[in-house]
Chain length 367, copies 4
Amino acid sequence: MSGNSFGKLFTVTTFGESHGIAIGGVIDGCPPGLELCEADLQLDLDRRKPGTSRYTTARREDDEVQILSGVFEGKTTGTSIGVLIKNKDQRSQDYSNIKDRFRPGHADYTYEQKYGTRDYRGGGRSSARETAIRVAAGGIAKKYLKDYFGVQIHGFLSQLGPVKIDEVDPAITNTNPFFCPDASKLEALDEYMRELKKSGDSIGAKVSVIATGVPAGWGEPVFDRLDADIASAMMGINAVKGVEIGDGFKVVEQKGSEHRDALTPQGFASNHAGGVLGGISSGQDITVHMALKPTSSISVPGSTIDVDGNDIEIVTKGRHDPCVGIRAVPIAEAMLAITLLDHCLRHRAQNAQVKSRTPPIPGQAKE
Amino acid sequence: MSGNSFGKLFTVTTFGESHGIAIGGVIDGCPPGLELCEADLQLDLDRRKPGTSRYTTARREDDEVQILSGVFEGKTTGTSIGVLIKNKDQRSQDYSNIKDRFRPGHADYTYEQKYGTRDYRGGGRSSARETAIRVAAGGIAKKYLKDYFGVQIHGFLSQLGPVKIDEVDPAITNTNPFFCPDASKLEALDEYMRELKKSGDSIGAKVSVIATGVPAGWGEPVFDRLDADIASAMMGINAVKGVEIGDGFKVVEQKGSEHRDALTPQGFASNHAGGVLGGISSGQDITVHMALKPTSSISVPGSTIDVDGNDIEIVTKGRHDPCVGIRAVPIAEAMLAITLLDHCLRHRAQNAQVKSRTPPIPGQAKE
Amino acid sequence: MSGNSFGKLFTVTTFGESHGIAIGGVIDGCPPGLELCEADLQLDLDRRKPGTSRYTTARREDDEVQILSGVFEGKTTGTSIGVLIKNKDQRSQDYSNIKDRFRPGHADYTYEQKYGTRDYRGGGRSSARETAIRVAAGGIAKKYLKDYFGVQIHGFLSQLGPVKIDEVDPAITNTNPFFCPDASKLEALDEYMRELKKSGDSIGAKVSVIATGVPAGWGEPVFDRLDADIASAMMGINAVKGVEIGDGFKVVEQKGSEHRDALTPQGFASNHAGGVLGGISSGQDITVHMALKPTSSISVPGSTIDVDGNDIEIVTKGRHDPCVGIRAVPIAEAMLAITLLDHCLRHRAQNAQVKSRTPPIPGQAKE
Amino acid sequence: MSGNSFGKLFTVTTFGESHGIAIGGVIDGCPPGLELCEADLQLDLDRRKPGTSRYTTARREDDEVQILSGVFEGKTTGTSIGVLIKNKDQRSQDYSNIKDRFRPGHADYTYEQKYGTRDYRGGGRSSARETAIRVAAGGIAKKYLKDYFGVQIHGFLSQLGPVKIDEVDPAITNTNPFFCPDASKLEALDEYMRELKKSGDSIGAKVSVIATGVPAGWGEPVFDRLDADIASAMMGINAVKGVEIGDGFKVVEQKGSEHRDALTPQGFASNHAGGVLGGISSGQDITVHMALKPTSSISVPGSTIDVDGNDIEIVTKGRHDPCVGIRAVPIAEAMLAITLLDHCLRHRAQNAQVKSRTPPIPGQAKE
């Protein structure tokens, strides 16, 4: 309840600082009987982990996850699942120069104002390192959704600075270090990033996640809407400044006759809504987009103040991602999976005995 | 916990259907000692209420709120506050024709899939009528924030279909039925809406809310971030499909050197972040934008199915807002106020004894 | 979250003071499809209501409950249920003399210390009047448990001062104003209460509740155990100072060989555990006992202080129950029903797909 | 929310099975600035740990706790605190014989009914081993309450089978393996336990906890009462079957004139209420008593069934406490500390600005 937990029935609680001994968490509420082992989580952890390409931070971490409880003889038991990842490559000396200064655009200043203290090594708790545990927890949710419902979750980069992705081919996404689903844009991305690194600057990005196979009926009608919880999940990822469901901000200029998705016996005719109506899933693909700001940890000098309020210049050394949006792809997938499983369980709690009079209709036909 | 409550320490729980006897709610967690009477809530309820102009639904409701508990001798007592608004103008006959059909773009179909039943009169629980209680609860939060912290919350229309607002003059906002802060756009809005009503169609809109005077330090670092909770609050408003904090989706094309807001002893030099860093308020203005879809309740005929799965044509009669975005302005203000007060109390719980080493610096200087 | 809600998935939130306009509440999480009308709730409200016999307070209230939402065409819709009971017989003048004084043994002093203020009329929020809404909410839970699982809940007086009940015949309980299940003790109770009223004093009581037909498997293993939540539910009833499950404090002197309930293919051989093992229901009867203190509102003079800290003598006038334990019977039943339904839903959320290898065995055979 | 968390603002979430790799947990909501190191937690862990005397289980565990996060430069940072204790002495072979059988009086059967599976090694999640993490978390709460409020928490054995403790001398409690505060009863306890071990049986116990120095005003008025939350905390400890606050079940035979605690300018004249009035602390000592059942893991043969429903005889081998009540003393202290700190933070959230008109009066004078 103090901000380190997410989800009401499938609940993820995390702990750990960037340069502490370890990061970890507790996943509570996973139904019993799910086949689960560390390898199921490692795949996404490896996709997120630093040091895998020249486009991400040079910090090297194995991010090897250990499941400490809640799994017995290869299956979940229904009790809480403890996970742990030890920190290895912690060059704390890199950070001592920011101990008494507030990097502009970073959480340094707000942590100081809130807590009167902060673990300044590597950003402490505000570091993206914490998201590794979200990815581990998301791996459990993904597996449950896939094994029991056939839900598939596909995240990808849809824009990086000026480079917009046009084609979405899921088969391409995981073949390149950008999570880019459009083969024709790989060269442009590579070139843009090479120039960017030279300049010492960083860049924003847009990331998308699509969940296919979500049954109709998940979500709640007023406050804990499926889309509201997705918005919270995504805006809760470091650096996210905007979230869209379906057509998002495009709806501002749409007319009602244009936006509404016709229902036909053969399925929905379109998917402007992004799979959620009145806060409840419609059975269509859930489509989510988010904007990630450029990291403030750059080597371009900037103006700021120190803890005593003096005007100073700052240059952030250390090892940082020039585009944090790239590694956000598996994080966004994980958070969507966690949100969906949470709502799956909530739906089941209240409506296990419900029979709708109308059989579900198919989602939008792919042409 | 079943979706009709919002907030963890300042908690709003609502009930009521569009065409039931009454709508109401419980506001739990308001500190004692706040001067409060019905008139404090009525002002915003009147701004939201239907039937006030030709641009909104013709349904006429007084929306007269009654405070049933929690206030004694003109002040809150610290116990739960019950509020009630009776429904008056319920023309249920208008809706009998949609009893067995699913309006495209509406929650009819998803409610049926979730619950196997629905109160179809006027949209039942999915009607915007429910938001009147959010506005009442928001009135309490607004008053507390203003009386104890000097926080001011200003919501306004920033785009309606093709009409974009350029100037933001708070003095204009409440002088016109559009909540438009730009006097030079009133004629264009009037003309656009007149044409729209003739066509029987509806239009999307963009709404903005700004909170001024929020102290640094409110928010939580990982999941229950101030911006994540704001995103949930806004995406939880009927028809919202996108939420931005600060520069929002513009960050996708920004560089780090451009985006980060420099701190100077005289204050922040800019506010791209929208007043939130690392999930915690920075002391700058909190700036939020949202996209609202065009309502699906229009008189332009559309394709859908009935409860038996048959292909049918549908025309929604009844009285509807041609642009639901307009009346969303006081709702968005209310939800921002509720979210801020919730985080104010959460901050106080854990950090009441904290003294920051650095005194807060001013927000961005207005030129 | 500020103390006026109970239950995590079946959630009851109440509001209202003893002498305000009305008391009410929101019941959130009731599954859709339950047949429900006001009469279903009125029965228990009438059992609880004051003014029904000379053994309870003379205040007369109809306690007529109104369902304001969440029920449509005679069935619950799955949305939140608003309930309201108007206050009628509020003789506020009776209480003005305690405005500035703290009745010993009452919440006057602690409310003042907590909130710096209180609605002193009739005890305000600390009055037992608030429990009427718990009884209404409990009526919904009872009906669901009975209709879908055949669960029956039977509460009764098991001791009043020195008068101990020996026989438990459910057929007797509701035939007398004491909720006494033992016909042979009615005369002793009547005589004791007559003498007590003459003396102007009050007396404690022991109340028991038994739930029959609860399936095995409800409850959680570590903190939110079924018995822990029952303990919270009962200790949360005004005046309760002790709670027991099964043999309760008798276990202190029991040996393991004596206490453990043998399992046999024909059923459990005994029920010392009271139907809960490891926090989870066993399929046996859930048996709960509680101790209720004598009310402090008596006409025997007592010593106390006023708000300025002066030593004074106090005599509580007004209309009070000489034994608050009596009317606690329907309240205890309601709280047990709410707790059980909450755990039913929680169990279903996580374990809907579980098949135990061992079929449930019967509870203890009644001889 | 799935039962492995306790507390709303100071929240403890635990994981781990008796014979898994490790047990651990996350403590969320601890205010920043508290001086804290492992040694602060180890003291109580050593009091709880097995293998310390011949009266407890012979399993030997160091129970050495590691703090993995949330503490920086010797002080808490306000972020979540991860704790870990590795399991060492896990003789899993001891338990293979109960894999397919349900020990009577144990959670084996109910886990099977709930989850369809269980980690049977050493009782898995239902083992008292899990409580080590509660003790670690309680150590943090205790330290905060002591450092900031001077609150002291004293737990002790008040009865073991037929041996009742008469005198309570806190100086004695931690000098003997029984946590017995009465030096004159040590011989009787020793003798009773020696006989008991010979017989292979187990015995129940009564444990008490007293918190001194709790300010008036902590607690909530209706459901989340301080006493209701204490009842939940205590009933949530393995083997507890009854909880009392203050005079507990003695109130059944008390009169109002006898029970109510007079307030005088010099302080309360008595403490029948146990420090809680109307769910809110009065400033008096909080006094709590609980009954713990005899463990079912005994070597006296018993009747039960196996997973296929066959009638069998069972003898529990392995290493068990003949009286689980003894080691419950530090657990009960921990749970009381956690509950109090949670309510301290909740009170502060809502009432930080409250000034009572009446200065707090002292608790009951000790003669």
